[in-house]
Symmetry: C2
Subunit: 333 residues, 2 copies
Amino acid sequence: MIETPYLLFLGDAPDMLAAKVAIGIRDWRPENAVGQLRLPGCGADLGLPEMTLAEAKAAGVKTVVIGVANRGGVISQEWKKVLVAALEEGFDLASGLHNLLREEADLRAVAEATGRKLHDVRVPSVKYPIADGKKRTGKRCLAVGTDCSVGKMYTAMAMEREMHAKGMKATFRATGQTGILITGDGVPLDAVIADFMAGSVEWLTPDNDPDHWDLIEGQGSLFHVSFSGVTMALIHGGQPDALILSHEPTRVHMRGLPEYTPPTLEALRDMVLPIARIANPACQVVGVSVNTQHMTEDAARAYLAKVETEMGLPATDPYRFGAEKLVAALAAI
Amino acid sequence: MIETPYLLFLGDAPDMLAAKVAIGIRDWRPENAVGQLRLPGCGADLGLPEMTLAEAKAAGVKTVVIGVANRGGVISQEWKKVLVAALEEGFDLASGLHNLLREEADLRAVAEATGRKLHDVRVPSVKYPIADGKKRTGKRCLAVGTDCSVGKMYTAMAMEREMHAKGMKATFRATGQTGILITGDGVPLDAVIADFMAGSVEWLTPDNDPDHWDLIEGQGSLFHVSFSGVTMALIHGGQPDALILSHEPTRVHMRGLPEYTPPTLEALRDMVLPIARIANPACQVVGVSVNTQHMTEDAARAYLAKVETEMGLPATDPYRFGAEKLVAALAAI
């Protein structure tokens, strides 16, 4: 559990693309994003108050989050000046970088001396159980994609926001590093040992109130041969009651796999439902989430209407047009 | 790669059940099983020559393999006397135990001093790539089960033996600790980090001669919610040309999951084939392997005949009745 709120460290990020994590925190947990700290030459700007470490301290910040990708896979000396000072000021550090904070001897030494925590969210910090498949109380929803990176996390985030606005009980359950940094908690599923994948998802989504929904962050795709095993473990560990099909219609091949064509929404539905019903015979596909970022608004609306007709399911781009339809579909279960 | 041949250390195993690994080596790689070493009170006997370490050395043994499960999860002092002496005699050690050889300070120190290797086959020793899904040359066969522990490894082993007897090119590819100890090489798939599972299977089954078959050791089951993600990665990383359905007809519930009923062979076929065709559109289900150990011979033969009629596929218990039918089905592809 990462202590909130955060100061978002943007370092010398060349552009906004490099600041994906920080943008996610600002968009989905604005109450956690108190300010930003940038180094000279930083090309990213979240529009948050610029803060020194002292100002962040005065504003109640608990953790400095590295909200950007670093260059060349190393934590530079320029970054370290800030990170060491942050530890000495009494902040914890949190990072989703491949090169771990804890692997930097100086950061580790200062953290120990100051009694602060280094959160490397790429690395599991829990000894997860092997899944037992027992039915849990409460309800669970999972977005499954025709491909990786089609908007599954944003779908779950948008649904959570809409459900909270409607007074429904809902919790976003992070399964990836960005989601974990945004919410401060979760399972870094892609880094879990194979035998414990499904168990880690059970652990993440325990018994809950009968009218409570876990909105589980999806990962990978059943059709993506590099990561389909991770998706499978999410489906069987999460035992979802409701599935959302997620799609990006302009994708010409599977992400990172030029030889593989993305499946249709129908093919995804037909494959995922019998798989999901092994763990939860009551599971239903309740809606479609389309990432229309590369389409004009007219084209997006026309596409969504076509999907609704063809699939007989509510379809929306929850980021662009809101998640109401998907939430209404959940409420109807 | 573990150097062969082996001396099989049976320790103080209470009975043959505890000696599963050693039995597998004796049955499937008899040329590697030069002798056995037992402690007083050992209740297991493989029928191999009893050897002291000195005799094993003279017989050309390279590695002492711990062929039994240990009691209480600790490597006892009685065992260590033998293991330390083995290192000092110049043998490597190999083990599939949960408690690792390398975690024992004394064993590690003696191994370093003597320049010998400690092989803990539960732990991956390779940095596997992320799967790229590219089509590889050569052919691959994978046994997929209605449940865990239905005989998938024995099926692949029996097929390899039969194929070698027929002069066919075939290699058993181990994906579990027993298989790795038997053959001296492989991937401990259940211990691989989630993101690299499929990549480790690609690594294990690289390009090969067009008429060469990899016989990939199966793991888990698509219908076993604890481990289905591992099975999925095997299917998509292995991109099999041929699938064998493996079944144990007397099983009343999924192994370790009392709430889950094993699927029919038809249900397994219908689920696995579209999944496998994502990675290899030419994939076919070519046969059925039935574990009939809990059936009389008459009942077994009647059951196999029924399966052949209902499924339209050759069916055998490869351990009891031979693997000829399955090999003939592969040869026909």
